[in-house]
């Protein structure tokens, strides 16, 4: 494809923001250092100069006010894209999101919409230790009224972010800090990726690996190696955690009969538990082995480089679990 380019995950986000700010005058972005710095990872670099302070707003370190301002202005007709710099900081903003943003559409009998996109990033990878590295996505999956998205590739992040901004619901859009510099194929032409649609990242016959966010990349790397060993893995990335595209997951597991769920968060009531439950409920008769989960350890994220890597799943752990599940 002539228009195909290799760009980074950060650049893909910046293009999505740029295109949506240009497209709709109601769209604005706001957060800590989104303007002059252009975000920690360069995701909004240059946009302040291009669009000015009314559309690209640097804020105080005030997560409740950032979220609240986004939520209120969305209900009043704007389409804010607000940034919470690290998902760990979203604890300060939870009330605005959970008690207000998620409730107003229903309490208004469907008359009010709250089209706010809350961009943030989670996970390990920068040795940021226990208050800057957590994987908290499942908190939001369990709140009625919210959409939750965890993109893994430059192509996905651009198309999904544009859809999130155009969506009428509050969307918790969770990136991963370890993938911002990854490059991927992104068309120059505009495109959207629908929310709530999983993507089969790699087709396979023997075993389904359901993984999201950074774990998708581990699953794909492991699948390449497993193919050489004669284990043909299908890698399914839900991309949107709620509403979950259960059909794609179920179809894959019915085909392969084996399911490994890979997730960076602790197992207990994490997103891996939801996937395992869906597979257990829908695919029981098709399973050749119990659903298996590979998850982060139930611990604070340690500072040390090796320890940080060891408490969350990596390629080696995916290989080990997949081989075992495949009976090798």
């Amino acid at each position: 494809m002539a228009s195909d380019r290799l760009i980074t995950f950060s650049d893909a986000i910046r293009e999505a923001l740029d295109e949506e700010i240009a497209r709709d005058e109601r769209v604005y972005i706001m957060g800590e250092d989104v303007g002059v710095w252009g975000n920690l990872f360069g995701c909004s670099r240059g946009l302040l100069d291009k669009y000015g302070k009314d559309r690209v707003k640097d804020t105080p370190i005030s997560e409740a006010a950032i979220a609240g301002c986004g939520v209120g202005s969305a209900a009043a007709g704007l389409r804010p894209v607000v940034e919470i710099m690290y998902i760990d900081f979203i604890s300060i903003a939870m009330d605005q999101i959970v008690n207000h943003a998620a409730r107003w559409h229903q309490l208004s009998g469907g008359k009010v919409t709250v089209p706010v996109t809350i961009r943030t990033q989670q996970g390990v990878g920068f040795r940021n230790s226990s208050q800057h590295s957590q994987t908290l996505e499942s908190w939001f999956v369990n709140v009625p009224g919210l959409i939750v998205v965890t993109p893994a590739t430059p192509y996905d992040v651009k198309g999904l972010l544009k859809s999130a901004i155009r969506n009428e619901n509050p969307v918790i859009f969770i990136e991963h800090k370890a993938v911002y510099r990854n490059k991927g194929h992104v068309p120059a032409e505009e495109y959207l990726i629908p929310l709530a649609e999983a993507d089969v990242k790699r087709p396979g016959r023997d075993l389904t690996i359901v993984a999201n966010s950074w774990m998708v990349l581990h699953a794909l790397a492991a699948a390449e190696q497993l193919a050489e060993e004669g284990i043909d893995c299908e890698v399914v990335d839900p991309r949107t955690l709620y509403p979950l595209d259960t059909e794609t997951i179920v179809a894959s597991v019915r085909k392969t009969g084996r399911c490994l769920v890979v997730n960076e968060a602790p197992a207990e009531a994490g997103f891996s538990a939801e996937v395992a439950a869906v597979v257990g409920e829908r695919c029981f008769g098709d399973l050749k082995a119990p659903v298996r989960r590979l998850t982060g350890r139930r611990t604070g994220i340690p500072y040390d480089k090796e320890l940080e890597r060891m408490v969350v799943p990596g390629v080696q752990e995916v290989l080990r679990e997949a081989r075992s599940l495949a009976g090798r």
């Binding site: 609240g68 009043a76 804010p80 008690n99 919210l146």
Partner: protein
């Protein structure tokens, strides 16, 4: 303040409406038709009425867990308030919200039961109004207790920085649940906190509707002109408990009686007779008319159906195109 007899009568009528509705909710609560989420507003009527008299229909109101007075003063019907209190269709949230959380789109009215939250999200409504540039403002009510929350600090700082059109109304009703204000607020006057955000703060007698209305008129004028937020602390009192049926063991009967002597409705009634030469018969006829209206509104609400289960689980999200979820 300058005020015609008609204007004073309107303020009087509005306060009588608020009290008539509140007084009628009490027996409904005692019959368990309205639940503990009902927080009586009786005694504080001058605040809601004095503020909302200065608002336009398209201004936003951000209210609290004690919203019924603000809602009525902003334009909600008595029918709608009774219905929401009773959990019936016909309330602003068709009874799904109940006594302390609803969204009334027609009146640009949002309220909720998390103390302090509104100070943060009011900035969003104000930002949207500022972008529109048509003079709309957000009036944000909160109680004394809210002034100690992080959201209060974050929201007020942001609103001041961006000169957002927000009117902050603190209803200092002397108690945060059972705790007296002096035991949990670190300054003598909550309005002093405005200085910390570089905005104007003032304290007014919240039992005097004319004083509230005058202070708010001046503040709203400057806010609409783009001069940024103003914080008005209104000193007021709730005659009934934090919620109806609370132990009320944290204050004396004498204290309640002292405040009742400052009753905002009696006070304006006396002024109407002395200053505007209204007759006692005129006022009592007005009160009787409102009482009948309230009675009819309550009867109407009691006839409304409850929401169905189907409705109660609907509108959770706006459906996504092409997906069943």
């Amino acid at each position: 303040m300058k005020c015609s007899k008609d204007e004073a009568l309107k303020l009087y009528e509005s306060m009588v409406v608020l009290r008539a509705v509140d007084d009628r909710i009490v027996p409904l609560k005692l019959k368990d038709l309205v639940m503990d989420g009902f927080h009586p507003y009786v005694g504080e009527e001058a605040v809601a009425v004095g503020v909302c008299a200065n608002l336009n229909p398209d201004d936003y109101v951000i209210s609290t867990h004690r919203p019924q007075g603000h809602a009525l003063a902003k334009g909600a019907s008595m029918q709608a308030i009774f219905a929401e209190m009773l959990g019936r269709m016909g309330g602003p949230s068709n009874g799904l919200g109940g006594p302390m959380q609803w969204v009334d789109v027609e009146n640009n009215f949002f309220c909720g039961s998390i103390v302090g939250s509104g100070v943060s999200y009011a900035t969003g409504f104000a930002l949207a109004a500022q972008k529109e540039g048509n003079g709309r403002i957000a009036a944000c009510f909160f109680g004394d207790g809210a002034s100690n929350t992080g959201s209060f600090h974050e929201g007020m700082n942001l609103a001041s920085l961006w000169k957002l059109p927000v009117l902050y109304i603190c209803e200092n009703n002397q108690y945060g649940e059972a705790m007296p204000v002096k035991d949990f607020v670190s300054v003598p006057r909550i309005s002093e906190r405005a200085a910390g955000y570089g905005i104007r703060g003032l304290t007014v007698d919240g039992m005097d509707v004319l004083a509230v209305a005058e202070a708010v008129a001046e503040a709203v004028d400057s806010i609409r002109k783009g001069d940024g937020p103003v914080l008005i602390e209104t000193v007021t009192y709730r005659y009934r408990g934090h919620y109806l049926g609370d132990p009320d063991n944290y204050r004396s009967k004498e204290e309640i009686e002292q405040w009742r002597k400052k009753d905002p409705i009696d006070r304006l009634g006396a002024q109407l007779i002395e200053r505007w030469k209204a007759s006692e018969q005129e006022l009592s006829a007005l009160r009787e008319r409102i009482e009948k209206d309230a009675q009819a509104a309550e009867a109407w609400a009691l006839e409304q159906p409850k929401a169905t289960l189907e409705y109660a689980v609907d509108n959770v999200i706006v459906p996504l195109a092409g997906r069943s979820a």
